[in-house]
Symmetry: C2
C-alpha cells in the first residue's frame, strides 16, 4: 500500500477520470481540474468520433471494477461492413467467433466515468483553467485568463491528462532535452449522424462498423444505444473533393448522392450536420520523457496522441493506467522510479500504435476496397483460421490482446513480408486457397522466429 498523497489530475476526459478513480481507490486524495464545463451539464460538441472499446480498454476498466457498468453503454461490433459502390455489402469479421469491438459514444462514456469517479470520492473542479505548473514543486496555477490573477495550489504529485494540446506538456516542452513532435495529417474529419427509425431501431446493421471507402475520402458509421449512428466523414481539408470545396448545399447534395447512394435517404440529415458541425484536425504527438522527477507525469493523449484509424486512442490511454498501476504495485512509494519505469515501458508501445494508426490511415481509405488487398486479407484469414497457433492477424494482436503494441508491430511486419511474397506467386488469384499456398506460408513462417510470442 502506498502512503496517501495529495494528487492533482489535469483533465477530466476519459483517461483523466479513470486515473482519478484508480488513484482514489488506492487511498490518495484526488482533485481533477478541467478548463471546460462539466460534460454532464452541456451538450456534446459535435466533434467526436465514436469510441471502439477493445481488450486493453476493458482490462483497465476491470482493474477499477467498473467494466460491467460500462458494458451496458456499449454495442458489440463483430465485423466491418464495407459499402463499396456498385458492389454488394461485404462483411469482414474482426476476429474469431465471440470477438468484437464495442461502440460507445464518447460523451456518454465520459459522463459515466466522471459519475463513477465522483461517487468514489474524487473532487472535480470544472471551468478552472490551469495556466502554469511548477514542475519541481508540483504547484498548479489557475485563473480566468493567462494574464489574470492566478490561484496557486500545492500538490504532492500532478498528472497531465489534458489531451493532445496539453498545457502540462507545453510547460515541460520548454525544458532542455525534452524531445517533442506534432505532425498533422492533411485530412480532417466531421461528425455526422443517422437518426434512429421511428420505432427506435437502427437503420443499418447495428453489429457492424460501417465503412464507405472512397479512395481520397471515407465515411464511417458506428451505432449508438438509442438507435442512431454516429458517422464520421474523413476528407482532405483542401483540393478537388475537400471540406473547402464542398461549400454550397447543392455541392453537398451532389456529393452525398454520388458517393453514398445506399444511404441517400439520409442526405438531409448528413447535410445539416455537415454545415453545422466543425471540421476537426488530426495529429500525431510524440514526446519524451513523460515525467519530471517523482512529481509530474503525462498519461493518454498528452503523452502520445495518435490518429484514430486503428480505434486505439482511448485503449492506449487506458492501458497507460494499467501499466502505471503495475509499476505502482512494484515500486510502492518511490514515485521517481515508478514514473521512470512507467514511461520506459510505455514509450516503445505508444510509438508502435502511433505508427500502426498512421499506416491504417494510409491504408484504410484507399485499400479496403482494393481487390488485391481483399484477397490478401482472405488468404491471411483462411490461414489464421486453420493455424491459429501460428498466425494471429495484426488486427487481433492489437485489438483482442494485451501483449505489447511494439510486439504486434514487429510480428505484423514479419507477416507482411511473408504475405508480400505470397501475393507475388503466379496465379495467386486462382489458387489462393490451394494446399500449395498453405504449405508455402507454413514454410515461410517456420523460418520466422519473430512470429513466436
Amino acid at each position: 500500500m502506498q502512503s496517501s498523497k495529495n494528487i492533482a489530475v489535469v483533465g477530466s476526459g476519459l483517461v483523466g477520470s479513470l486515473l482519478a478513480l484508480y488513484l482514489k481507490q488506492t487511498g490518495h486524495k484526488v482533485t481533477v481540474f478541467d478548463r471546460r464545463p462539466d460534460v454532464r451539464k452541456v451538450e456534446f460538441s459535435g466533434r467526436s468520433i465514436n469510441l471502439a472499446m477493445s481488450n486493453r480498454g476493458w482490462k483497465a476498466l476491470r482493474g477499477a471494477g467498473i467494466e460491467k457498468e460500462v458494458r451496458k453503454l456499449a454495442l458489440p461490433l463483430d465485423k466491418r461492413a464495407l459499402h463499396v459502390n456498385n458492389q454488394a455489402l461485404y462483411f469482414q469479421p474482426y476476429g474469431k467467433k465471440g470477438e468484437a469491438i464495442y461502440s460507445i459514444s464518447r460523451g456518454v462514456l465520459n459522463r459515466k466515468m466522471i459519475d463513477l469517479a465522483e461517487k468514489a470520492g474524487v473532487k472535480f473542479q470544472f471551468e478552472e483553467k490551469v495556466w502554469d505548473i511548477d514542475l519541481t514543486e508540483a504547484k498548479l496555477f489557475t485563473g480566468a485568463s493567462e494574464k489574470s490573477e492566478w490561484k496557486e495550489y500545492n500538490f504532492d504529485l500532478i498528472f497531465g491528462a489534458d489531451g493532445a494540446f496539453s498545457r502540462i506538456r507545453h510547460k515541460m516542452q520548454r525544458q532542455s532535452l525534452f524531445n517533442y513532435s506534432q505532425h498533422f495529417i492533411d485530412v480532417g474529419y466531421k461528425e455526422l449522424s443517422i437518426p434512429a427509425n421511428a420505432d427506435g431501431s437502427h437503420k443499418l446493421d447495428n453489429a457492424s462498423f460501417h465503412i464507405w471507402p472512397r479512395g481520397e475520402f471515407m465515411l464511417i458509421a458506428m451505432p449508438n444505444l438509442n438507435g442512431s449512428f454516429t458517422c464520421t466523414l474523413f476528407m482532405p481539408f483542401e483540393g478537388e473533393i475537400s471540406f473547402e470545396s464542398l461549400d454550397t448545399e447543392t455541392k453537398a447534395d451532389a456529393f452525398f448522392a454520388t458517393h453514398f447512394p445506399d444511404i441517400k435517404d439520409e442526405i438531409s440529415n448528413l447535410k445539416r450536420d455537415f454545415f453545422k458541425n466543425p471540421t476537426s484536425s488530426m495529429v500525431t504527438i510524440k514526446c519524451y520523457p513523460w515525467s519530471y522527477e517523482g512529481k509530474v507525469t503525462l498519461v493518454g493523449d498528452s503523452a502520445h496522441a495518435i490518429v484514430p484509424f486503428y480505434g486505439q486512442g482511448m485503449n492506449a490511454g487506458f492501458e497507460d493506467i494499467s501499466i502505471l498501476f503495475e509499476k505502482i504495485a512494484e515500486y510502492k512509494n518511490d514515485w521517481e522510479q515508478l514514473f521512470t519505469a512507467y514511461q520506459e515501458a510505455r514509450k516503445p508501445n505508444t510509438d508502435a500504435i502511433a505508427e500502426l494508426s498512421y499506416r491504417n490511415f494510409m491504408e484504410m481509405s484507399s485499400k479496403t476496397a482494393d481487390a488485391d488487398f481483399l484477397l490478401r486479407k482472405k488468404i491471411e484469414k483462411q490461414f489464421a483460421e486453420k493455424h491459429p497457433d501460428i498466425w494471429v492477424p495484426m488486427y487481433s494482436r492489437v485489438t483482442f490482446s494485451d501483449r505489447p503494441y511494439a510486439e504486434a508491430l514487429a510480428i505484423g511486419d514479419a507477416q507482411r513480408t511473408i504475405m508480400d511474397k505470397i501475393m507475388k506467386l503466379p496465379n495467386i488469384e486462382e489458387n489462393w486457397d490451394s494446399e500449395k499456398i498453405e504449405q508455402k506460408i507454413l514454410e515461410l513462417t517456420s523460418s520466422k522466429n519473430v512470429l513466436d510470442t
Copy 2:
C-alpha cells in the same frame, strides 16, 4: 522596388541582424527587438562554438555589400588537422586549392553585424522581451515579464529570427496544422580555450580545423584573430566518460592528460574553462509552415535549428536571407505569395542540411579516426581530383557551392552507394589506387544520372 513597410525583426543574432540590414537597404523601416542586452556591451557567454563561414554565408554577406568588412574578421582554414592518439598529425584538405572555410568568433561577428545594421539605419531595441504576437494583425507585445503590463506595437510585417527557442514560432505552434519537432541529442558541448603564445602567435597551426576524434567524445579547436583557439568539447551528458562523470579536478586532469596528450601543456586552461563554462545541449528543430499569411515568417534557427556538425547552421540561416530576397525580387509587394515561395523553396533544403548535420554527428566522432573511413576518403579524393567534372565530394557540394542542400544530399547518397561497392572489392586496401578501381568507379558513376548537376 517594394513599397516601404514598417517591419519588426525579433532577434538580433547573426541572421536577424543580416535580415534587418537587407530590409533597410530595400527601403523599409526596421526595428530589431532582443530580450538580451546588446552583445556589444557585455562579455561573451562562454557557450559558443566558433563559426565556419563558407560559400553560402559569404554569398549572403556579399548581397548586402559587407563581405569585405567581414573577411577581415576571419581566418581561412583549408584543411582538417586530425589528432589521433599514437599517430602523427594527419591533414585532410577540405577542397581544391584555394578553397577554405573561415573561422570567426560568433561574438565578434555579431557585434560587427549589429554595428553595420545600425549604421545603415536599423533601430535596435535591446533588453525588450517579446511575450506574445498577434499573427493576423502583426502586433508584438513586450514587457518585463510574462505577467507584467505589456506594451503593444503595430507592424506591417514581423520576422522571427529569435533562434531555436523562438517565441514567435512558439505562438505559431499552438495553431492547428502546424507541424513541429524538437529532437535533442544525448551529447552536450562546452566551450574551452587555448590562449595565444606570449608573442601573440597561435599555439597550433592556424590554417587548420583541429579535431581530436575519440569515439564517444571529440574535441575541436578553431583559431581566432588574436592568437587564441576556441575549443569545443563534445561529450555525452551521462555515462562512463561524460560531463556528469567528470566532476572533480583530479578526474578532469586525468581526462585531458590521457586523451589529449599533444596539448597537455594546456590542461590548466582547459580545466579552468571546463568548470567555469556551462554545458550546452544541441537540438534539431523542424517546423512547417514557416509563415503566417503575408504577415509573419521565420528565418534561421527558429525555422530550422540543426546540430553543428556540418558547420552550416549560420550558413543555412544566411542563405534563407538570400533566397527570401530572390523571392522579394520576383514577387515584389505580394508578401503572402513571396513568403509561400520562400518557405517552399527552403524547406526541402533545410531538411537536407539537418539530415546531413545529424549524420555527421554520428560519423565525425567515431569514424574520422577509422582506417576504413580514411581509405574511403582517400579513394574519393583521388578520384575527385582526377575527374573533377564527374565527382564533386559531398563536403564540397555543401560547403563550396550554393547549389541546393537537397541536391547535395541526393548526390551524396548516390556516391555513398558507389563507394560502399568499391570498399567491398577484394584487396581494396592494397589496390585502392589502381587503374582497375578507377575504371570501376567510372563505370558505376556513368550509370548514375543522379551525379549530374
